[in-house]
Every structure is written in C-alpha cells, then in structure tokens.
Amino acid sequence: MAVIRIEYFAVLREHVGRAQEDLTTTASTVGELYAELDQRYVFPPIGRVKVAVNDEFQDWNAPLRDGDLVVFIPPVAGG
C-alpha cells in the first residue's frame, strides 16, 4: 500500500470536483492508478492523457512509490 498525492487540472479537476487528494492504493504503476480512479470517477472522454510523477513526464508503466505526486495531463492547449 502506498499513499499517493494526486493533483487534478482543468477538465479533470472540474469532473472530480477538487484539485487534489491523497489516496491509499494498491496500484503498482501509474497506469493502474489511472484505471482505479477512472473506475471511481468515470472520467469523461478527453483524448490521449499523459502522466507526470513528481513533476516529470513518465510512461504509464512507471512504478508508484509512497509519497509520489501524480498528475494526469489531458490534451494541452497553450498559446
């Protein structure tokens, strides 16, 4: 079990209804964590999501460690 801090932005923040949460999870990768949260919140269809762990982009197989900060990144639209 690990306690993970998750921050939500933009469309995900509005959908979940908060900007962050601490979650105790048995997920071992960020992909498993996303699947767990998708099951709970039923994320809307938002295209290709990326993920960051501790403020760096990671792939979906990246391992989760206690205390990690995870951010799911919906398609961006700067400029």
Partner: protein, 151 residues
C-alpha cells in the same frame, strides 16, 4: 532563472523585452499570441488558462534549450498568461534575439509551436451562448476513443 515563466497578471512585451537584449544581436523576432473573439465558428467572449506550473516551467525551459541547440541565437524568453483573459489580451509572448534574422525567426517559431503542444497548459473558452469548453479535451476523434488514456 528559467527562460520560460508564467504570469498570473496581464503583462506587456515591453516588460520582458530587455531580458533578450544582447550586444551581439542584430535581429529581434517576437510572437504575441492574443485572445481572439471566435473559434471553430463560435463567438468567444473570454477564456481561462490553467497551468501545471512546476512541470510547465521545466518543459518550457527544455523547449528553449532545444531552440538554442538548433539555432544560433543570443537570447530567448517566453511568458504565458494564466487566469481569466478577455478578447485581445496577450496570452503568450516569445522573444528571441540573434546575430542574424533567420535564426531569430526560426527559433521564435520553434518555441511557440512546441509550447502549444508540449507545455501543460489548458484553455477553457467561454462562448456568447453562455456555455464553455476545454479546448482539445472535448473533441472526439477516431484515434482518441473514450477512455483511451493509458495502454
């Protein structure tokens, strides 16, 4: 200091232009992205930018480092607004100086193109009809089916 920064307040290019001044620079190229009053046939009345700032600054700085590697430029800087913006407001500014104009134009173009697709910034448009939408997150396309996020 990072060459890419966010601004929660309105700003002018004049405020940041001194950061790219350089005695070797014979050319200065800049890009100003501003809020337009329409998008895809709809009337836009204002918009909001939200950013994941800790990662955004890192990724923006990486993009500018790439511009330095690709073009013989002297200085480069980029500022992106966050918060609520009205029509005509400055949303993003890129400034580049170089000995010669080709490098300044090329690097400026490279930076804005990459920032738009890589830096974690999200744009919510508010429409004249009263509704709103997160750009690039609402569209459905064949290669981005519902729930397709992770493998």
């Amino acid at each position: 200091m990072s060459h890419f920064v966010f601004s929660r307040e309105p700003f002018t290019p004049e405020r940041y232009r001194p950061l790219v001044a350089d005695p070797v620079a014979g050319g200065y190229a800049s890009f100003e992205g501003r809020v337009r009053n329409h998008n895809e046939g709809r009337v836009v009345v204002r918009l909001e930018y939200e950013g994941y700032e800790a990662l955004g600054i890192k990724e923006g700085d990486r993009i500018i480092a790439e511009a330095f590697a690709r073009f013989p430029i002297a200085k480069a800087h980029c500022v992106h607004r966050l918060g609520v913006l009205d029509i005509g407001d400055l949303a993003v500014w890129v400034g580049v100086t170089a000995a010669h104009r080709d490098a300044a134009f090329g690097a400026c173009r490279y930076i804005i193109d990459e920032v738009k697709v890589r830096v974690p910034i999200w744009k919510k448009e508010h429409y004249a009809e009263g509704d709103s939408g997160w750009i690039n997150c609402e569209a459905r396309s064949p290669d981005a089916p519902a729930g397709s996020a992770p493998p």
